[in-house]
């Protein structure tokens, strides 16, 4: 296995006196497309929230590139890890460019104007997400797919080696799902970025991931290559739904049997 980007050691998380994570441990390698799957309430979003430090985490539990994340300043963390939330709102009339340019915040000093480098990276991020033609448009008036691209472009503008995404394509049509996951896949293939994303569509997971982490009730029940994790037995056991799994070159197709 290649060098790890995230290492979690014995993470504990309690909610209303109930333990969700009880000594959860995980190691995730660099330059890979990693999908986290599992039923609702299995702890996927909670895990991501620990990684961005929006939940209190003890020392020596989570390591980002071998350094304890509690030792990073907030801006240092932002330069190393960007995040696309599950649900985001834009309630004010920022342009798409202004939203994406916010991603440059961890590199900027108070009162300083954005540098040439900042503008260059923002434009590259818009281009990578194929939304440069929308840059002067009001961000509140975008379609769901365009909005999601804008958020990913903002994460790209952070120029971090790791991007975390929480269900980035859940509410999008199949075309937009494919487009966005392809763009994320290309980022990983360019060898610059590691993508860790929560996904619900197991076929999308199968088509795009290098590694899959399957969670249930706060535990990691399986991790490994797509064909190792997305088996009929594991899916039926965790999701309580009968499925037929057709194996196609290590990338299985999962067909739920509804009746």
């Amino acid at each position: 296995m290649s060098e790890s980007i995230i290492t979690i050691k014995n993470l504990v998380h309690s909610y209303h006196l109930k333990k969700l994570f009880d000594n959860l441990s995980l190691q995730l390698p660099k330059h890979t497309f990693i999908s986290i799957v599992g039923p609702n309430g299995s702890g996927k979003t909670t895990l991501l929230r620990h990684l961005i430090r929006s939940l209190p985490t003890e020392k020596d539990k989570i390591f980002l590139m071998d350094q304890d994340i509690s030792f990073y300043t907030q801006k240092e963390l932002a330069r190393n890890l960007s995040y696309v939330p599950q649900q985001s709102k834009l309630e004010y009339d920022f342009t798409v460019y202004e939203v994406v340019a916010m991603g440059r915040y961890p590199y900027q000093k108070p009162l300083n104007l954005p540098s040439t480098e900042d503008h260059k990276i923002v434009n590259e991020s818009l281009k990578a997400m194929k939304i440069e033609h929308l840059k002067d448009q009001n961000g509140t008036q975008l379609s769901g797919g365009e909005f999601q691209r804008m958020l990913i472009a903002r994460a790209l503008a952070q120029d971090s080696p790791l991007i975390l995404l929480d269900e980035p394509v859940s509410h999008l049509d199949v075309h937009n799902q494919k487009e966005i996951l392809n763009l994320l896949r290309n980022l990983v293939d360019s060898n610059k970025t590691t993508v860790i994303t929560v996904l619900h569509d197991l076929n999308a997971v199968s088509a795009f991931s290098d590694l899959v982490v399957m969670m249930d009730k706060g535990k990691i029940v399986a991790e490994g290559k797509v064909s190792e994790v997305l088996t009929a037995q594991k899916i039926e056991e965790i999701y309580k739904v009968k499925v037929r799994v057709e194996n196609n070159n290590e990338r299985p197709t999962i067909l739920p049997i509804w009746n």
Binding site: S54, S88, K89, L90, Y92, P106, P110
Partner: protein, 336 residues
């Protein structure tokens, strides 16, 4: 498209409007003074004649106090709206102004506002009260995880409670009735040069640091987890800015009473003109708040002349329809 030239032009227009309103406000009052005489009196400086005394001792300090207080309230409203990601937040709606007024009335009741210690006692009492409210709001904002309705209901409930307690103190302390009533409804009638000096220095001290946080305020308008992941130290920024704005608000409350809705109205109007970015919004709110408050005070002075209305009545009548509009439109926002 770069709108910066348009914005510069609009800002200059707003400044000219403010200066013109200042001069016109100096001409109006129980005794109307001609514009040319006002200009001449201002150029000549303070003198001993009646006209000069009316302008230099009564109207000018009052006009300047309303200008500075309006700027403080508008900028504070702008900051609160971003800090709590709530378009309906302002020092009045969140109960921070009432906290200041309550601090003053409780100090008055216990006889803490006597002559010893001078004019600073009132702002200190107001700051303690306003800071109490701000702390409660901050704790609630952290617990409610950005739930806008909870925060607003809490502000409304806090306002009810503090108003009831102030009424109680009025009954218990009838000798101070008039001054407590004045704080609860807002007025610039007691303006003086000493107060102008204090409120202006506090405004400079508290509002300038906000300029260092305009990027953070922009980012806070997105969502909390995004702001955090972009590197904003949310709790630190909230605490620092809440401290500065509460200080500025409390000095306004202590000298001018509770003036509602300026902090709500002005940032909204200015956002329609210059957009949501705080670097521009800051200076537009500053001047816009000054202009609207001065206009409101001038109307309050003239509408029932020779008597006058509390300025809070005018700002509330103008601001509450906007508040209703915002409540009804709070669901019409884009989200995914």
């Amino acid at each position: 498209m770069d709108n910066s030239r348009v914005h510069k032009g609009l800002f200059i227009l707003l400044l000219i409007l403010l200066i013109a309103t200042v001069v016109i406000a100096l001409t109006k009052g129980a005794a109307s003074i001609e514009l040319s005489i006002v200009v001449k009196t201002l150029i000549n400086g303070p003198a001993n004649d009646t006209t000069s005394r009316i302008i230099w001792q009564l109207r000018f300090p009052r006009v300047l106090t309303s200008v500075v207080a309006g700027a403080i309230l508008a900028v504070s409203g702008m900051v609160y709206q971003a800090l709590f990601r709530n378009p309906m937040a302002d020092p009045y709606v969140l109960g921070i102004s009432s906290g200041g007024a309550f601090g003053v009335s409780i100090a008055a009741y216990f006889g803490l506002l006597g002559a010893a210690g001078g004019i600073w006692k009132i702002p200190i009492a107001a700051f303690v009260g306003a800071f109490g409210s701000a702390t409660l709001i901050l704790l609630l904002a952290n617990r409610s995880r950005g739930n806008q309705t909870t925060l607003l209901l809490f502000g409304v409930a806090l306002n009810f409670l503090l108003s009831a307690l102030m009424t109680l103190f009025m009954f218990l302390n009838r000798s101070q009735l008039q001054s407590i009533l004045q704080w609860s409804m807002g007025s610039f009638a007691t303006a003086s040069w000493q107060k102008v000096a204090i409120i202006t220095s506090i405004a400079i001290f508290s509002l300038i640091p906000i300029l260092f946080f305009t990027r953070e305020l922009d980012i806070l308008l997105t969502d909390e987890s995004s702001a955090l992941s972009m590197g904003v130290e949310i709790n630190k920024v909230r605490t620092i800015l809440l401290l500065f704005t509460t200080l500025a608000t409390s000095v306004t409350v202590s000298f001018c009473g509770v003036i509602g809705f300026v902090g709500l109205m002005v940032p909204h109007i200015m956002r329609l003109i210059v957009g949501p970015r705080h670097k521009r919004l800051f200076i537009f709110s500053l001047v816009g708040g000054a202009l609207i408050t001065l206009l409101s005070d001038t109307i309050a002075r003239l509408i029932v002349a020779p008597s006058e209305l509390p300025v809070g009545i005018i700002t509330s009548i103008a601001g509450s329809p906007l508040f209703f509009f915002l409540v009804f439109n709070s669901r019409k926002r884009s989200s995914v």
